[in-house]
Each structure stands twice: as C-alpha cells, then as structure tokens.
C-alpha cells in the first residue's frame, strides 16, 4: 500500500473495476453514481471505502470530490490501483484518505465487507 493522503477510516467496501470520471458520473450533492453506463449506477458513495482502478476525465473532477465531501456524501477512504492527479488532488483537498494498492492487494478485497483502512500504517483490517 502506498500513501497518497494519510488517515484512517472505516466503512463498507464498494469495489468497482470500472474507472470513475467524478465530473459528471457522480452527483456532487448526493454522492450517488448517476451514469447509467457505470456498474455502480444508482449506488451512493457516502461513507464507503471506495476501491476503483483509477479516476479519468477532467481535473475539474477534483472539485466534485471536494463538493461531495462538503455535502457529507463522500467516501470515507479511496483505494486505487494506479494514481491519477484528479483523485489525488481531490482527496488531498477534501482530506479523504487515499492509498494505491498493487494488483494482489486489490484482488484480495472482499466487496461489501466492513473494513478499516489505515493509510498511515499501511494496513487494511476486516472488522
């Protein structure tokens, strides 16, 4: 696990294999995925531990991450397979813990489990 934004958080793991374009795909007020083509369509990101491959699209998407955090609708932590500047700067501004996992760590995640991510300690705990 590689630390991009430090911190510790607990939540239900929401795991997608599709990249997310925060600008447009995620409702900035509710944190609900609003793009019908995405496999998380209709699901709320609020208080989840969101695992995704990486973010795509305009860097303005960082403001969407800030918005959903301001509206208490953001994930508690985000785990990515590879870093991208939109998610990295969005999480940094919004103070959402963010870590990069390798492929093995990513594949070991159990979707819908309650987990605690401690980015500073580099650990994932199943509650």
């Amino acid at each position: 696990m590689r630390r991009l934004v430090g911190g510790r958080a607990t939540g239900i793991l929401t795991h997608t294999h599709q990249p997310i374009n925060f600008l447009g795909m995620v409702n900035k007020d509710t944190g609900i995925v609003q793009d019908a083509s995405h496999d998380l369509y209709g699901r709320s990101l609020q208080d989840t531990i969101l695992a995704l491959p990486y973010g795509i699209g305009s860097s303005v998407g960082a403001y969407t991450i800030y918005s959903i955090k301001s509206n208490n609708a953001a994930p508690s932590a985000i785990l990515c397979e590879r870093p991208d500047l939109t998610v990295a700067t969005g999480c940094a501004v919004a103070n959402i813990p963010l870590a990069i996992l390798d492929t093995f760590e990513m594949e070991s995640l159990h979707d819908n489990s309650k987990i605690t991510v401690d980015v500073d300690a580099g650990m994932i705990l199943y509650n």
């Binding site: 991009l4 934004v5 960082a62 403001y63 969407t64 500047l85 990295a88 700067t89 999480c91 940094a92």
Partner: protein, 381 residues
C-alpha cells in the same frame, strides 16, 4: 517522497490548516508522479478561475480559504469568464457575474496578481533560464518549457494553488532534463498557424513527455502559440524541441494526418462569429492583424481575446478595430467561455485548434477551421 522537518510538521498541521491542506496536495501530487522531494518555485500561474469551469464548488472552496490563505511567491492568474467592460452586452446572468466577482476577490485577497491571462509568457518578464516555475495553464507550461527555458510540470489547478501557498512543488521527472520520446516531422509545405496547431494536437497524442519536431520551424509567435495550444489539449506531453533526436521513432505529420484532425474538429464550412485569441493575443499579434486587415472590415462579428494589459496597450487601435467589426475582449478567453452557446451562435470560424476543441466539446458549437489569412480573405470587404 522525502520531506524536510518543516514540511513534515506542516503536513501534520503545525503551521495551520491552510498549509496542512497545501502540503497534503503537494504530497499526494508528488507521490502520484513519483517525485523524490519538494523544491522551491519562484512563479506560479493558476488555473481554476473561470466560474464556467470551477462552478459553485470552486467558488465556495476559494471563499472558504481566502481569509487565511496567502501566496508566498509571485502568482498570476488564468482568464475569467467575461470582460467586465462589455459583460452586459452578452447573455450572462447576474448570478454568474456575482460568483465570478467572488472568485476574483478571493484570489485578490490571497495576494494573487489578477492578470486573467493564459499567455503569461507574453506579458510578464521571463526569469533566467532553468528557473523552476509552476504553470497550471497547459499552453503556458509547454511554452515555458520549450521556448523560455523554464521548468514546470503541467500542473493541476489544486497543485498550482498549493505551490503558490507554499512556494514549493514536487520535483518529478518533468522538472529535470527531459529528452524527446518521439520525433514528429512536419511534412506540410509552408505550414500555416492552423497546420502548427494540428501538429501540436497530433504530437500531444503520440508523445508522453517531450517531442522533437523536424522538417520545419514555426516561423512566428502566432505559429508557436498555436503549436503550444494544440499540444496542450491532448495528452501529457509538456515540451517540444527543435533539436534532432535520431534514436527516437519518427512519425510524419502530412496532409493525410492534418485532414484527419481537421475532419475531427471542423464540423462546418462556415459560421456566424469569428474567434481570434485562443491562446489570447499579444500586442504584436494585434498589430500584425491590423497590417493584414489594411483597412478592410470583417463581414461577420469578430471576437478577439487578449489580456487586459494588452487591451490597454492597444488603445490607439481600438477605434480602428471596432470599425473593422472586431470586438476586443479582455480578462477572458475563447476556451470554456460562457459568452457563446448554441442559443446565440450557430457556429464559429477560428484559426485555433485549442479554441475549436473546447468550443466544440464544451460549448457544443459547430466549428469552421481556417488559417487567419484565409479568414481575412473570405470574410472581409
């Protein structure tokens, strides 16, 4: 990434929540781009200014930090959404004007020079060769790296803001000596600025970091700026060089490649508004336009975008330009402009690849692409 004791402390919040956030951004950006440490920068150029781009979230964010945040180095600013002198001639809501004004005030309170320009290289003194800067505007970053011998990442709005607040930036590979990863050969004879813009877009797609350009040299500033603007709209490439790179793969940019890009971006043969200035025009470019016009008048409304300092310096020409049906707009730019929409414009005519890209993709307008000399020939009397 290695941090100094001061930087570690700031990241823990020992110097206040604003600096803590700024260092969080720098560390996240640095880790994401494999930087080894942070280094000082002495000029930051910010994006994230146009309310049309950053919206309510951006306006609120800036308002939430403006009472405490202060920039530590010279910091200049990208264009806003409109020219306050003429905003009431356009269909811009009071809400938009109010929010844009709040954004301006936030940056001003933070100590930012509100230059509202995407061509800092044309209006500010350039520091010594090799100086580390942080430019968030893509065409300006490419221009700085390629033609002014400065060193910058193509920053994001947030990473540049963090650099302004701290005076530091991640030291990653773009700040070191980068070498071409591919050579693009200009095969079009006597290329116009439109050809250079298309080559820029093409090169940005085939090169990751730095591209060597062979076959021809952009002959003037108009061509250089078109090249930087085109390159900035595609991919991550942040530098071009005219030095040869024999060991790299050579790719030709010929009439066929140019036609592909033209077909991709140009959706119409003509339009009802002429757009000049994406990137914004400098004073010499306006003077060159005056010479090319030779007293003729555009048959369609021509919107010309430039920085305020250029508009002020061009004061002796403004009357003649107005007579030529040229509307000079300061503080804003054709990119992501709220001034043009399918509600008030059928289509635009421009010589800018960067302008065409955004006017089509973001504003949803039909675009006709022609070099300036053809625009003047076809649309003046």
């Amino acid at each position: 990434m290695m941090l100094t004791r001061y930087e570690e402390g700031a990241l823990r919040g020992e110097h206040g929540d604003i600096l803590q956030m700024a260092y969080r951004i720098l560390v996240a950006t640095g880790e994401a781009t494999d930087a080894e440490r942070l280094i000082p920068v002495n000029w930051v150029h910010l994006s994230g200014v146009n309310y049309n781009t950053i919206g309510d979230a951006g306006e609120q964010f800036l308002r939430s930090i403006r009472h405490k945040a202060r920039v530590r180095v010279k910091t200049t600013l990208n264009p806003a959404g409109f020219d306050r002198d003429t905003v009431h001639e356009y269909d811009i809501t009071e809400e938009f004007i109010k929010k844009q004004e709040s954004i301006r005030k936030s940056y001003e309170m933070m100590g930012v020079e509100t230059s509202f320009s995407c061509i800092p290289y044309d209006i500010f003194d350039i520091p010594a060769a090799g100086t580390q800067v942080s430019f968030a505007e893509s065409n300006a970053a490419i221009y700085a790296n390629s033609l002014d011998n400065l060193k910058t990442n193509k920053e994001s709005a947030f990473s540049a803001l963090a650099s302004a607040l701290t005076g530091r930036s991640p030291y990653n590979e773009f700040r070191k000596d980068v070498y071409p990863d591919v050579t693009v050969e200009m095969k079009i004879p006597n290329p116009t600025e439109l050809d250079w813009g298309m080559l820029g877009l093409f090169a940005g797609r085939v090169s990751e970091k730095c591209v060597s350009i062979s076959g021809a040299v952009p002959s003037d500033r108009r061509a250089c700026k078109a090249l930087c603007g085109g390159m900035g709209t595609s991919g991550t490439c942040s530098k071009f060089t005219m030095d040869t790179a024999p060991s790299t793969e050579h790719i030709s940019f010929d009439e066929r490649e140019a036609k592909n890009i033209h077909d991709e971006l140009a959706t119409a043969e003509t339009g009802d508004v002429i757009i000049l200035g994406s990137p914004q025009l400098s004073l010499p470019e306006i003077e060159s336009l005056m010479v090319m016009l030779r007293g003729r008048r555009f048959t369609k409304k021509c919107m010309l975008f430039c920085p305020r300092i250029v508009k002020e310096s061009a004061a002796p020409y403004i009357k003649a330009l107005e007579k030529a049906n040229v509307h000079v707009l300061a503080d804003c730019c054709a990119c992501l402009t709220p001034l043009l929409s399918p509600d008030n414009t059928d289509g635009v005519i421009t010589n800018s690849i960067k302008g065409a890209y955004y006017l089509r993709k973001s504003n949803g307008l039909d675009v006709s692409l022609k070099p300036l000399q053809d625009i003047i020939r076809e649309y003046t009397t």
